[in-house]
Structure formats: structure tokens, C-alpha cells
């Protein structure tokens, strides 16, 4: 079950339970860690949100094993449709970076937007890694949800990652 970032499983107390409930009820925008985000990603259990204002990512969270989830929000200016950005990303990753396009899926955000998920694979430091890019496009923004990590660790966390992606919402 997904839960908000920064919830810590310590000994329960009345105050802590109340705080937890309050946090859970808060809009998920507070999870991003930096203002101005236009989407919400609830990180899987055991993932911690990173606080990095001003960086490339609107949100980023990591597991203790180093599997990382992140959201990149880019102004869609000049406007390009989903097909344009998917093709641009696909070519960049394959032809320039040498990533293997292992699978390509049509997806839909929890808020209803149609998107595309590109599942890449790449060897880093001699070992295989997974790198998923899930792309959504609105009139104003291009949203890229990135998920990556060492292959075996990523596959262990894959069910949780898929649940988080399925719950991803765009305002």
C-alpha cells in the first residue's frame, strides 16, 4: 500500500497517530518537497522523499537499496503532443545513449491523461539496470516519471513501483 513520504514507523502515540492522520489527509502536493509542482506521485512504502529545491526533479524518492523514483515537470513550450515527446525521448535514449528499448506500453494516469511508458534497459558499471520513463503531456507541461535501479533490486520493487505509477495524478 502506498503511503505519503516522511511517515516513520516508530512507537505509536496519540500525538503521532493524529499527526499521521493529518499528514495522510493533506494534498499530495506537499509530498513533492518543492513548490509549484503540478502533479502528485505517492512514493511506495519504504521510499524516502529527497529535498532538493531548484533541481531538475519536481519530486524524487529513493529506496534504501537505491531504486529511485522521480518526476520531471517541463514546460510544454513550444507545444508538442505526446507522440512528439515520446519519439524524441525514444531516439535520444536509443540512438545516442545506447539504451535498449525493452518494452513500450500505453498507460493512463489516475487523473485520466493518456500516456506512454518506455521501459529501457542499460548496463551501468558492468551490471544491468532498468530505467522506465512514463510520459504524460498537457497543454502546459510535459511530465516524465522516471524509475530506475539495478535490475534485480528494481524487479523486487517493481509491484510497488507499478502501483505508484498507476496512482500518479496530474492537477
Amino acid at each position: 500500500m502506498n503511503r505519503p513520504f516522511r511517515l516513520r514507523s516508530t512507537a505509536p502515540s496519540l500525538t503521532r497517530v493524529a499527526l499521521t492522520a493529518a499528514l495522510a489527509a493533506l494534498p499530495l502536493t506537499s509530498l513533492a518537497g518543492c513548490g509549484g509542482t503540478a502533479s502528485h506521485l505517492a512514493a511506495p512504502t519504504n521510499f524516502l522523499e529527497l529535498d532538493e529545491p531548484g533541481e531538475s526533479y519536481a519530486q524524487r524518492a529513493t529506496s534504501a537499496e537505491g531504486v529511485v523514483l522521480a518526476v520531471r515537470e517541463v514546460e510544454n513550450e513550444p507545444y508538442g503532443p505526446l507522440a512528439f515527446w515520446v519519439e524524441a525521448i525514444k531516439r535520444r535514449m536509443r540512438n545516442v545513449r545506447g539504451y535498449a528499448l525493452v518494452e513500450e506500453r500505453d498507460v493512463r494516469a489516475a487523473s485520466g491523461e493518456a500516456g506512454k511508458q518506455l521501459r529501457f534497459g542499460h548496463d551501468e558499471a558492468g551490471g544491468p539496470y532498468h530505467f522506465w520513463l512514463t510520459i504524460f503531456v498537457t497543454d502546459d507541461y510535459v511530465f516524465v516519471v522516471e524509475a530506475g535501479g539495478k535490475k534485480d533490486l528494481f524487479e523486487t520493487a517493481q509491484p510497488e513501483i507499478e502501483r505508484a505509477l498507476a496512482a500518479y495524478r496530474i492537477d
Binding site: 529535498d51 531538475s56 537505491g66 529511485v68 545516442v96 545506447g98 525493452v102 535501479g149
Partner: protein, 302 residues
Amino acid sequence: MSETWMRWKSSRGSAVRGQALLFVLALVGCGGASAYAPPPSGVTRAESYGGYAEAESAPMAAPASMSADFESDSVAGELARPDGAMIAQAAPAAQGAAPAAQGAATPATPPRAAADDAQRGPLLIYQATLHLSVFEVEATQRSVIAVAQELGGFLARQSDQQVVIRVPAPKFRDALARIEETGDVLHRNVEALDVSEEFRDVQIRLRNAEVVRDRLAALMAQARNVEEALAVQNELERITGVIEQLKGRLQFLGDRIAFSTITVFFQPAATATTDQPDVFRLPFPWLDELSLRSLLNLPYQD
């Protein structure tokens, strides 16, 4: 022959001997003097190999299993067709030939039996270069080598970023198709090099050189003094060297014709040749930031 020898004997100056040698040597380079000889055994005489007869270079689209979209933004990409017909070819003459027999080819001793094959078409050397994505490279390399071995070929060279295999020419297309299934093919280049003219030229030069060698051997037997013997001996040694070179070249060409070469790189084509038409930099810097390294490069937290 005897007339030549008499002229040799009667001459008193080196000029006359030189003329005789020139006559003999002229035979070596007399390309049109002999009839065309058939290719050596084991050399596959390719019937029209269809698309392979022309060099091809095409950036590859996404794997067929994921996308039937083979479109490309490069002109070369238009050569590729989803059904793989780009590399469709007629069955080579030696389609059923056992790979072992091909591997045992001895191009320097052409049998008459291959004469019929010689009339069919060009002698082609098939070569292919594939750029595969960098994912699970070790396992993919093992698969590529296994393909070569299963088709009667062998591993020629291997390093971290590339593997080179040789496969019997009739299995070339099959090998390419199977290798392309082992990974995401980013770019493919296939070419057929027509060496018919060179092969025939070398064969003719070899035959003529052998004729000259035989004549020199006969002259050697008739030498009556040391000076004559040494002069013929020197020329005999030279012509023997030429024969060995020509045989070596024939053997090399025969080997390249009988076994096609497939080189598989595990790196983006863009790093090898920056002028690849499918590498286009869009004016959106954030696209360049997309990578595992960016994602996994986590900042220290206060």
C-alpha cells in the same frame, strides 16, 4: 621452348638474356592469355543475393515485438521494411552445403567441377555490422557466439564492446535474423563486396606464373654452366614467390567468400560515427539530462 633456349645459349651479352627473361616475364602479366578458371571448391558462388548485392545502412527502429514502426528520419532508413524483405535473397548455390565442407575449402586448387558455378554470377563477400544496445552485454555476446556455432561458424574476435563472428555464406541471412533477436538493434549495415574481377585476375596471373615457373624449370635443366644456372635460378625463385603470394590472395578471398563476417558492437552508433543521420540533437536540454546516472545521482541531504 627450344628456340628460346637456343637464343639464350647463343647470346653473349646480358641484353639478349634480358630479352629472353622479359619474354618469360611478360607471360606472367598476360591477363588475357588464359581462359577463365572456375572458383575453388568451397567458394560459394552466389546467385543473386537479392538486397545483399547492394550495400545497406539503416538505423533500426524499435524491436518488432514492441513496435511495428520501422520509420526512420533518415533516407537510409527507408531501405528497411518491416517484413525484413530488405535482406531477402535467393537461396545461394551452396545452400545445402555442409559448413564443414566449406570450412575445408582450399581456394588455391580450383576443381573443374566448380566450373558450372563459375558461370552463375558474381563472387561476393558478405559483411555486416550491427550496433546493439548496451544492455546485458555479456549474455547477449554469449547468444551471438552460440548463433555462430549453431550455424557452423566460429568466433573470430571478442572484447567488452564488440564480438566478431564468421558464418558460412549461405547462413548469413539466418545468422543476422537470429542475432537481431538477441537485443535491441540500433543500427545495421550490410554490404556485399563483389570480388569476381579480382578473383579471376588473380587466378589467371597464378596460372600464367605457374606456366612460367615450369618453363624456367625446363631451362634450368638445360643450363650448361653455373652462370646460366644462377640466372635461371634467380628468376625461378622470384616467380615462386609471386606464385605463393597469388595463392595466398586466392586463399584469403576464398575464405572471405565462403565465410561471411558479422561484427556486433555494443555501443550506440553515434559514438562511432557522429555523422549518423538518425542522431539529431533537439533544442531541449532536458532531453539530454534523461539518464540513469542523473536519476541515481542522489544529493546529500542536510
